[in-house]
């Protein structure tokens, strides 16, 4: 048994013992998803394609790439993103990837938007949701 699976089992036992009521399925599913998420994403061809496109874009922006080349890399990343969105989330294990996409595309300053403020509720709502997904799935 790997450390990750052992930790997952311990969390489920702790959840069962934490309350006299039976845990709900989504509570247990979230714990299992935390153990399964990295493996699920590592085996997902669309996630791999997106990671590759993102890394290539960052390398292109940091390196000597010309404007046209950077634009092409941006297009490639956009296509990889669209492919994931069009497929949709198949289970809780896919949510960390969707959260990363939202963080990448929809929240310019993630950490700043986690601080409550009366201004910028739209970006705060994205940051809070992304943070919640990553927290529940522990990605």
């Amino acid at each position: 048994m790997t450390d990750r699976i052992a930790a997952c089992a311990a969390e489920i036992v702790a959840l069962i013992n934490a309350s006299p009521r039976t845990p709900r399925v989504d509570e247990i599913a979230a714990i299992i998803a935390r153990a399964a998420a990295p493996a699920a994403l590592a085996e997902d061809p669309l996630a791999q394609r997106w990671e590759r496109a993102l890394a290539e874009l960052h390398a292109g922006m940091d390196g000597p790439a010309q404007d046209g080349e950077v634009h092409e890399l941006e297009e490639r990343l956009a296509e990889a993103t669209l492919a994931i969105w069009r497929r949709g989330a198949r289970s809780v294990a896919d949510l960390p990837l969707f959260a990363r996409l939202a963080r990448e595309w929809g929240c310019a300053d993630f950490k700043a938007n986690l601080v409550p403020s009366r201004e910028g509720l739209d970006e705060q709502s994205v940051a809070q949701l992304v943070n919640a997904v990553l927290s529940v799935t522990a990605a």
Binding site: R24, V25, D26, E27, A29, A30, W85, G88, A89, R90, S91, V92, D94, L95, F98, A99, L101, A102, E104, W105, G106, C107, P116, L121, D122, E123, Q124, S125, V126, Q128, L129, V130, N131, A132, V133, S135, V136
Partner: protein, 108 residues
Amino acid sequence: LRPEWDALRAEAAALADPNAKGREARAAALALQKDLLAAAAWVGDVRDLADVLLLSEIAWDVWNLGVFPEITEDIEDRGQGAVALAYLCRGVFDAYSHAQAIADGRSS
């Protein structure tokens, strides 16, 4: 916060009727109540997928994306932030529904 949020959504649906009594004042109060509930949800603990679903519905409402969780055909006209959020919210809804289906014995 789920019961309060559902009550606010019901109030919003009632105010969709242009002949609703005191519509403007009620709409202003509703907007304020939604902001307060969002603030409470954001500082509260997120324990499970049900809590994440509530945050998804709140974000969807803040961005005025229409009927949760239906992504409209013109979503890409709203800009990349709205598109990314819409698909994340839809993903949360689908994952939550998937977990519920397993709980009900409707899926594996």
